[in-house]
Symmetry: C2
Subunit: 927 residues, 2 copies
């Protein structure tokens, strides 16, 4: 057993140098009071190893052991699973030391040393990799353990657990194909049936002894070899298995999800076993220094008496709240309580602790910064500032900006959702593209969604994929569910911007159009029936789950008493503090992508300092407008086109007036028409017939026009400024609408709107040189007619590689650049966002992409082009205004890159503004 | 009249310095024996001005005058059509000098100076810009001219010509909308009808005098002002009009077709008038120092007695061969013959001369390098080397690589042509102005020719005569046939330059516009019917004649006596010499893009040194192969896919064996499967049904598969290495087929093929890092099985912007880069080649693009990416092999850029290899 606690805290030894002859050191030992490593060596020792070392240095009771570095893992994977030659010697040295300090020997039949072998990466990857406990047991040492503990039942139980775990992890003896149970579990079940018992605890030492025999013969049968009896052989096998598990499927998936490089590798920590299952004075538990769900300041946790850690995780027995420990074992509780305070003070953050009590003696098995919800993150960070434990800057860096999203989304009632899962009401699962919770009736078409809305009913729009024609239906629905598409598909993009709950790429879903049903396997749900989607988890439920707006949204956008009450909530107060500090420390402005006055109002409530992208085409999908737009497209000559445009002008102007009213003096970037014209025409025969009737044309004329506008690759087709150049009258109409609206609002309110007019899809400076004079001439005409001027800039999007490459020439005309990183990513990679679903998931899974480049900016490729554009743009026009309006503008990693580029602002969807504010502050603080 | 010829050749004066105070000099004078400019100042004085100055320096008889520089043109267009302030003073000085040297004065009623005002750009743009003749005439000076020449008829004819030309060019008094005739032409026709005559020559001085009155009142009516009488006003008006004409529609079209930058501008040359229409001792003509059609060494040309230059060019009267001049005016002929020899010797190239004989006295009006056919270009260049006038290097630089294309174009099948002659299928005969053979449907207007081209049909443009407005139609047609005009008419000149088959002056042909028929005697052919024209013999055939390969193609690819005979032709000998010299001087290798053994044989015959791109997917479209390919695509799992692939393997292997047999030890770059899979499936219902039957599937299964593979932007979709990564078994099968074939051929022939295996559409180094080991493992398997190795490289295409941006990382794995500039251009510009037709023509017309970036490499944008890739690729792997396999590999301008980048090879389609060989030599010589 380990040395007694309470020895004086040692001086910090110097960091150990690499071993002689420049060879790196591979093994770091630790024991209570001293350690070769410390908390700063997470990269080398993994989070677990580093924190164990740190706790030892703090003099806390930790079972002694040693850690094999992550470098060994890299070596292992780079060299066809061979260990570095010098490892064996180092490890044997550490083992000797451990044996000496414990007074036990590995494989000693009378006084055996038993160890656990655990993984531990630089960042926590809970449950992803493998662990082996009770290592060192064999047919001889099991007796030694039985004698030592005077508890044969415990010893044989430990031995059978060891065989089962080792066989699974190292020998890969697992459930046969087509079966769910491992042979070990089945053998145990058989035994219990034979004994007529249901609980493990009802089995005797003899039973375990018999089971060990059965287990060993199972291993022999499966592997052709007896179960290894040599503890050294066991140890090396376990170390290799842990390293192997770094590259198991679920670890790879987890890494790609969290952008963890595969080259980091895992460390392996070998630690003396302590037992929480040695009777009624033993136990094990997990605790947090504060509530990880709400952030409330209270010692929080659970424990089980007479149990091992795995029993807590497995959930077979229900653990008790930590406070109960005070009654059961007051001394241990007091020590633990002291330690938790010490650790939070020491780490200056909420800690997650694992402990075991072996026959009344407390051991700390792990400590790390505790995972927490967004709510808790905000609350803890602000509380720690109040408690003067951390500074405001530190608090800002403690909160993951993405976590703020949780504070804004309506939520399902937690209890009801849990019940729904247990009741088997989960229909399927997709990608969590737009967080939050929504329930509604299934609508298969936008028209149905609109009809539901008009009837005062909620709907979920379910589509194979969405297109711009669907946006009114999307707006009308509570949430969007698609079969195809990724995190940046049209549905995800527009859904997020609208703040809609959105689940995309639910690949197991079949839409049966004839039957008007959704099918998953043999389960069917019909149009009009209720479903509920959770955009935070990606779950799709059958039936209706109640939702409620979050407190922060209530406080910012709500009215009356409810809003007042919400504003008094600890969550909102914490949120407000974080936002206030973020605004104080960030250097970039935050704008919103918004096309409608109500979106603008939401955006400003969330703190938007302007509009970074107003997509004028979204305005054309309104009831009246789409008609005039279609007339314009179907016009045979410039004259007819101009007449149709004249109808659109007042409608667009009204939209812009609403936006300028909402935005006041904040700058508003308005992009001229961007998508290809065929997007505005109906593609289905019935709709074409209807339109033909309306406009007095032949259906075949409309079909012919649709046909003539059809493109093989519309993304690379006749769109953006190419439209404005071939149809200058469209640009003129839009510019007129924008500036007439601006002048009207200036007169009405006395506040002059600040317009930034943006020409999209520029690939060569000449394109802008053709459009810009047209814009300016039209603007001057409006100013002259209105007798008032408003400040304005003319600029362009940088969204094609060539634009970045010739940015110096473009900057001669452009007064600002706005990076359209969605399209820039598409063209730089040569990937259509709409079609990428077929390979991007596989690319991420195989580690070809660290992450989805449409979600987080590819700084190496796309970022390089941005750097060039920034550099060249500034060389031509030193004061050029620079911003980003692609979806990446709401992504914290991308925002950090924008800060490094020195952009003036980032622009994102309204509901991501709080995230961007915090991310921008973090970027500025890290810079 | 100008000073007499024969004065001694002066010493070359120093180049005139810019005027005082650093002001640029805008006006350069010239007169026989001396000039301020010289031949090297084409950029400043235009081709015409520079060569007139040079001829003056050579002491040749040139009417004196002066040239206003191209810089004035640029100033004029940059500053809203204003002249530089100092121009007036300089021009007046030059005019004074001219008046003094001529002993005449501008506007002097008794002895008036008359001038022509002509355009002249850096390179010849025949007929594109405007000219004004007889300037200086007014109501007073016309009498002076009548007295001086003692020829009132001549004087009044000159005056009415001046009014007509000036009104058209400067005052823009032109045909009313909807009419084809100008009011002046109509007035002349009315007059002739009134007088009862048909020819201009039948009209008297009195008639012209009356017509001048009518013309002046027409001008007054149209412009509201009297016709300008002040010669100074006339002069400035004409200068402005010539500058304006630099930006007229046809000049812009011509520039875009020939990639002439609009900023070059035109010079204006003002030259004393001389008259070829002063009676029977006067005349005018055009001559070439060698035959511009065949290149034969003989003085060649045409003249008209008693005519002005415009009469020759307009083709209204059919001119006589130059040899006739010897009989009519032996002295003038002798002088001209001496001058042509002197000029060819001086310029060391074939010259195109314009001359006028005024009352027995010869004046040179122009000299320039003569336009010539590809046949002539090659012949003249090699002859000049033989005559020791130029070096081999100079000869190489003299031939436009594109012109070689003419030498490879088919001619009519000799037997069939003979039969057609006997069958009376010869409709008529004209002048053989542009060699080659062409068949097509009769198009009477440029618009028809363009419509045929757009419909994928061939046409022959048939015109009375062509004018600069026709050039787009000429470009669209297969050949040009005109009723009027000689070997130096507009049709002949422009047709030759375009490499079009051209027969001019088919005088017996009548175009019946109403009936839309061609008539010769009683024989009629209607619009839309087929005719065939032989530009080498001048014959016009009814119907479509089969063609046979050209002499060069015959000699290279033919067999037996025919090939031997062709190899002895002057054309082939000249071609061979040029190719031999080109190969000696170029540094880049030339490869072919070819997918089939027969293509490989053609390629090597044309001199290919390897295959730069073998597109393996082209092989899948064979009868048997498409079946197995479809089976593979429709496979539901890896097993079924592998079975289908096993069927494809032997088929692919056989194709590769054929290619390796054809290529011997030359390197062969093979690209793994590139296009999206849906390209291989039938999209139409009936074909889907048929396929379903064949494979025993339901048609709906196939429709569903097609549906599931359909992409919104297939260009940016699941293709290239993305296929190889998601379906590694496809890559494996292809690699196996390639290397089994290579090993088989190595064993069979003893020659080891050199394989360069190329992975397409790489955007990140990781993609290659996944595919490359798969390739190498498969290759090693094959080598082991076959017991033989062949040399090979594994590399990638650089065809996405990101690949260029991360080329350093890619080069860690790639042993070579091949630039796929087609796709690189598409993604860099964000333009789908398939959809670009809707705006690229307009972009070129409006000058937004200098040319089609898919035809000639965009060095500024795409080229910048290539530079980065080259630089980074070499930084990682200094010896990395670099080439280009996009369509640009056959474009001379692009080849020059590749030479600058230091690429190892360019690859193009087999028939462009001779062009590429010459272009590569030129690039190396220019470097």
């Amino acid at each position: 057993m380990p040395p007694r606690p309470g020895s004086p805290r040692p001086k910090r030894p110097k960091r150990t140098k690499p071993a002689s002859k420049g060879r790196p050191k591979f093994v770091y030992t630790f024991r209570e009071g001293e350690a070769e490593g410390d908390r700063d060596q997470k990269n080398l020792l993994g989070g677990k190893g580093a924190n164990l070392a740190e706790m030892c240095r703090l003099g806390l009771p930790v079972p002694p052991g040693f850690t094999i570095t992550t470098e060994v893992c890299s070596h292992f994977h780079d060299r066809s699973h061979r260990f570095p030659p010098s490892l064996r010697k180092e490890l044997n040295g550490a083992l000797d030391q451990l044996e000496k300090s414990m007074g036990k020997r590995f494989g000693d039949p009378t006084n055996p040393l038993l160890v656990s072998v655990r993984s531990g990466a630089r960042v926590s990857m809970p449950g992803m990799m493998d662990t082996v406990l009770n290592l060192g047991l064999n047919d001889e040492t099991v007796d030694g353990l039985a004698n030592l503990t005077e508890n044969p039942r415990f010893a044989w139980d430990a031995y059978r657990r060891f065989i089962q775990m080792y066989s699974d992890v190292v020998l890969e003896v697992r459930a046969a194909k087509g079966e769910t149970q491992s042979p070990f579990t089945r053998a145990l079940d058989d035994l219990k049936r034979k004994r007529g018992v249901t609980e493990d605890t009802e089995l005797e030492a003899q039973d375990w002894m018999g089971l060990v025999r059965t287990y060993k013969s199972l291993v022999k049968k499966a592997t052709g070899k007896p179960f290894p009896q040599d503890p050294q052989e066991q140890l090396w096998g376990a170390i290799g298995a842990v390293f192997h598990s770094w590259n198991n499927e679920r670890a790879i998936a987890y890494r790609s999800m969290h952008m963890i490089p595969s080259k980091w590798g895992t460390a392996v920590t070998i630690m003396t076993m302590v037992y929480g299952n040695m009777g009624d004075t033993s136990g094990t538990g997990v605790a947090f220094t504060r509530d990880p769900s709400t952030g409330e300041k209270r010692f929080y946790g659970e424990f089980l008496m007479n149990a091992q850690g795995e029993d807590v995780v497995a959930g077979l027995r229900t653990p008790k709240p930590i406070s109960n420990l005070l009654e059961v074992m007051p001394k241990a509780y007091a020590q633990l309580e002291r330690i938790q305070r010490l650790l939070e003070r020491h780490y200056r953050d909420m800690q997650d602790l694992e402990f075991t009590i072996e026959q009344g003696r407390l051991f700390m098995l792990q400590c790390r910064a505790g995972k927490r919800t967004g709510f808790a993150a905000v609350r803890i960070a602000t509380d720690l500032v109040k408690e003067r434990k951390i500074t405001q800057k530190e608090a800002l860096l403690r909160v993951d900006p993405e976590a703020l999203d949780q504070l804004l989304q309506p939520v399902f009632d937690r209890v009801e959702q849990e019940r729904a899962r247990k009741d088997g009401r989960v229909l399927t699962r997709g990608l969590n593209a737009g967080p939050g919770a929504a329930s509604g009736r299934i609508a298969f078409t936008p028209a149905e969604a609109i009809a539901y809305k008009e009837a005062g009913e909620k709907s979920i729009l379910v589509r194979l994929e969405t297109s711009p024609e669907d946006i009114r239906g999307m707006q009308a629905s509570m949430g969007i569910l698609t079969v195809r598409g990724g995190m940046t598909s049209h549905a995800a993009l527009v859904g997020r911007q609208m703040g809609k709950v959105c689940v995309v790429g639910a690949a197991h879903l079949r839409i049966e159009e004839r039957r008007r049903t959704l099918r998953v396997g043999e389960r069917r749900v019909s149009a009009g029936e209720w479903i509920s989607i959770d955009g935070t988890t990606g779950e799709v439920f059958v039936g209706q789950l109640a939702t409620q707006p979050s407190q922060v949204t209530q406080a910012l956008l709500g009215k009356g008493k409810r809003a007042e009450r919400a504003a008094q909530s600890p969550t909102f107060k914490a949120y407000s503090a974080i936002m206030r500090w973020a605004d104080k420390h960030r250097s970039m402005a935050i704008r919103a992508n918004a096309d409608q006055p109500d979106q603008c109002r939401v955006a400003t409530a969330f703190g938007a300092q302007g509009i970074g992208l107003c997509r004028t085409e979204h305005m054309f999908f309104g009831e009246k407008k789409i008609g005039a737009m279609r007339e314009m497209i179907l016009a045979d000559d410039t004259g007819a086109r101009k007449r149709a445009l004249a109808k659109l002008l007042p409608l667009q102007r009204r939209d812009f007036e609403g936006i300028f009213m909402a935005m006041g003096r904040r700058p508003v970037t308005i992009r001229t028409l961007d998508p290809p014209l065929h997007e505005f025409l109906p593609h289905e025969k019935p709709a074409q017939r209807e339109l033909a009737k309306k406009l007095g044309l032949k259906p075949s004329d409309i079909a012919a026009k649709v046909e003539s506008l059809t493109e093989l690759n519309p993304m690379l087709g006749h769109r953006g400024c190419r439209l404005g150049i071939t149809f200058p009258e469209i640009t003129q109409m839009q510019v007129r609408a924008v500036f007439e609206a601006a002048c009207n609002v200036a007169k009405r309110t006395g506040k002059k709107p600040r317009v930034e007019l943006m020409i999209p899809l520029i690939a060569s400076s000449q394109e802008l040189e053709v459009q810009e004079p047209l814009v300016r001439a039209t603007v001057e005409e409006v100013f002259a007619k209105k007798g008032i001027r408003v400040p304005f800039l003319v600029g362009t999007m940088i969204e094609l590689p060539r634009a970045a490459l010739v940015a110096d020439a473009i900057a001669r005309t452009a007064e600002f650049f706005s990076f359209g990183t969605n399209d820039l990513t598409q063209t730089t990679f040569g990937i259509s966002r709409d079609d990428a679903g077929k390979f991007i998931p596989e690319y991420i899974q195989e580690g070809i992409y660290a992450g989805d480049p449409f979600a987080s900016l590819d700084t190496r490729g796309v970022g390089r082009l941005m750097e060039m554009a920034v550099e060249q743009g500034r060389a031509t026009r030193p004061g050029i205004k620079l911003g980003i309006c692609g979806e990446h503008g709401g992504d914290p990693r991308s925002i950090e890159f924008c800060e490094a580029l020195g952009l003036a602002y980032v622009s994102c969807s309204p509901y991501r503004i709080p995230i961007a504010r915090l991310a921008a502050a973090q970027a500025a603080l890290r810079a």
